[in-house]
Amino acid sequence: MAASPLRVSGGTRRFGARGQQFTVFEGLDLEVEAGEVFVLLGPSGCGKSTLLRVIAGLDELDEGTVAIAAEEHGRDVGIVFQQPLLLPWLSVRENVTLGLNYDANRSADEPGLVDRTLAEFGLTELADAYPDELSGGQAQRVSLARTVVTRPRVILLDEPFGALDPLTRRNLQQWLLGIQQSLGLTVVMVTHDVEEALLLGNRVALMSPSPGRICRTWELSSESREARPMADLREEVLQTYAEVARLAPGNTSGFAAGL
């Protein structure tokens, strides 16, 4: 087995000025295996997006380390946000190509890559359309393609289907599963949706709030899927989730100095 592509050790992130600091997460450990879908569940505000931003290099840890095994071609991590964030003045094809035009990703490019990616993401017909002509689900596919085309070793998805209607969401989940398997992607995905977590995840981790930590992990190998009725598992995850959510800030302000 190759070295794990992503490892966070003792990750701590605080916000705010000294004296009244707010600890989002503290001493957080996380390891993701190549080719797996690692799903992160957790109540609102427990720091999931912050953690993804840290892993993506858009924010920095106060303590601890993020280790990402380097890929030969392409970049290390790519992130897909909850909003598609398509640039409205670019066509679908141009949006997908955006990252490849940056010097840092040039080495990921090769002839035919964009066309191939458009085809894989079912966007060939829409290549010349503009974002305001797309449905929400199509836009989110473009957003995914834009990240995948730069060939990151690990792809971070922050509630990518959160804003979609249930049916589109379902379709995209199935489709993501297919893409993930055929391209052998390593995925870290944040969601609030337990169903989605159980459908997509090889491992599902539950994050507790204030300060955030991974408090429980479920393995969902194909054997364990068969050994246990899904409903049973879902019940257990939901129950743990509810227990954890009771700790969530929201009514309390969540200051964790000294805890």
Binding site: Q83, P88, N101, G136, Q140, L167
Partner: protein, 296 residues
């Protein structure tokens, strides 16, 4: 309200024109112009004694003068001189105003420090700089360029800065997540994102420049429409003066229209909200509007 781009008119058909559209676009303005001429003519008729020197200001006299001036090429020379000054002045204003606006909108420290000073300078009428301009640059085209530029730089800088401030910070985060360098961010996200604002600024700047041009040309130059007005007065050629005023108004109007046409981006811009059109294979697209709303 200053110039909403015509493309936003909802009533137009697929070709962008409709019968009422043509009437609105051409008929009403012509009617307005005709009304103005009639009032003008009536005023002269009613209040000016025949034979008085003021009768030279009548529209028919002005029109005749205009034909003559165009015919013998006099006006063309002045018009060309004026247009050249406008272009150079605007060019200088853009070269200074766009980077200045980028800094104002993008660098908080810069805008906190320089912003108040800039508003102070902006409030000084450009023509107040005339004596200084002549001391600095001597007589000739240069002080005119300077006066135009110092007036036109503000609309450009302020529109640019407003555009930068209104850029969705998430776009920048997206760019960084794709590992864009600062220059790449500027080129592929900031600039296209604010282009519409910069163009709006240029349009406003053109109007400002045109208004500054005429008085600026009344100093130390021997060509241009401003110069021609003074020259007509000195020659007691009041009909020529009328012709010059008409030309100034008409050219300004045409320039503004042309700027509208040329500087209104036809491609989708950052600000236009998404159309609620939904196409799509298989998938049912009842997406929440929020999913593809680009925050302003």
């Amino acid at each position: 309200m200053i110039g909403r781009p015509p493309a936003q008119d909802d009533r137009r058909d697929a070709r962008g024109r409709s019968a009422t559209g043509v009437l609105t676009a051409v008929g009403y303005p012509l009617l307005g112009a005709a009304l103005l001429v009639v009032l003008w003519w009536l005023a002269i008729k009613l209040f000016v004694e025949p034979g008085s020197f003021l009768s030279a200001f009548a529209p028919d006299r002005g029109a005749r003068a205009l034909v003559d001036l165009v015919g013998d090429g006099t006006l063309n020379r002045h018009v060309i001189a004026s247009l050249k000054r406008i272009l150079v002045g605007l060019g200088i204003a853009a070269v200074i105003g766009i980077p200045f606006g980028l800094a104002l909108g993008g660098l908080p420290v810069f805008s906190k420090t320089i912003g108040p000073v800039a508003s102070f300078v902006r409030m000084v009428s450009p023509l107040s700089w005339t004596p200084l301009a002549i001391i600095w640059f001597g007589v000739g085209d240069q002080p005119v360029y300077f006066l135009i530029a110092i007036g036109a730089v503000w609309p450009i800088a302020l529109s640019t800065s407003a555009g930068v401030a209104a850029l969705d910070p998430q776009w920048l985060m997206l760019g960084r997540s794709l590992r864009a360098s600062r220059v790449e961010l500027l080129r592929t996200i900031v600039w296209p994102g604010i282009r519409a604002d910069v163009l709006t600024g240029l349009r406003l700047a053109l109007t400002t420049a045109w208004i500054i041009l005429v008085p600026a040309e009344m100093l130390g130059v021997d060509s241009g429409l401003g110069y021609f007005i003074l020259d007509s007065r000195d020659r007691f050629a009041y009909s020529d003066l009328v012709a010059a005023i008409v030309v100034i108004g008409a050219l300004g109007f045409l320039l503004d229209r042309a700027a509208h046409y040329l500087l209104t981006p036809r491609r989708r811009t950052a600000r236009r909200p998404a159309r609620q059109r939904v196409t799509g294979p298989a998938e049912v697209a009842l997406a929440e509007p929020g999913a593809r709303e680009y925050r302003i």
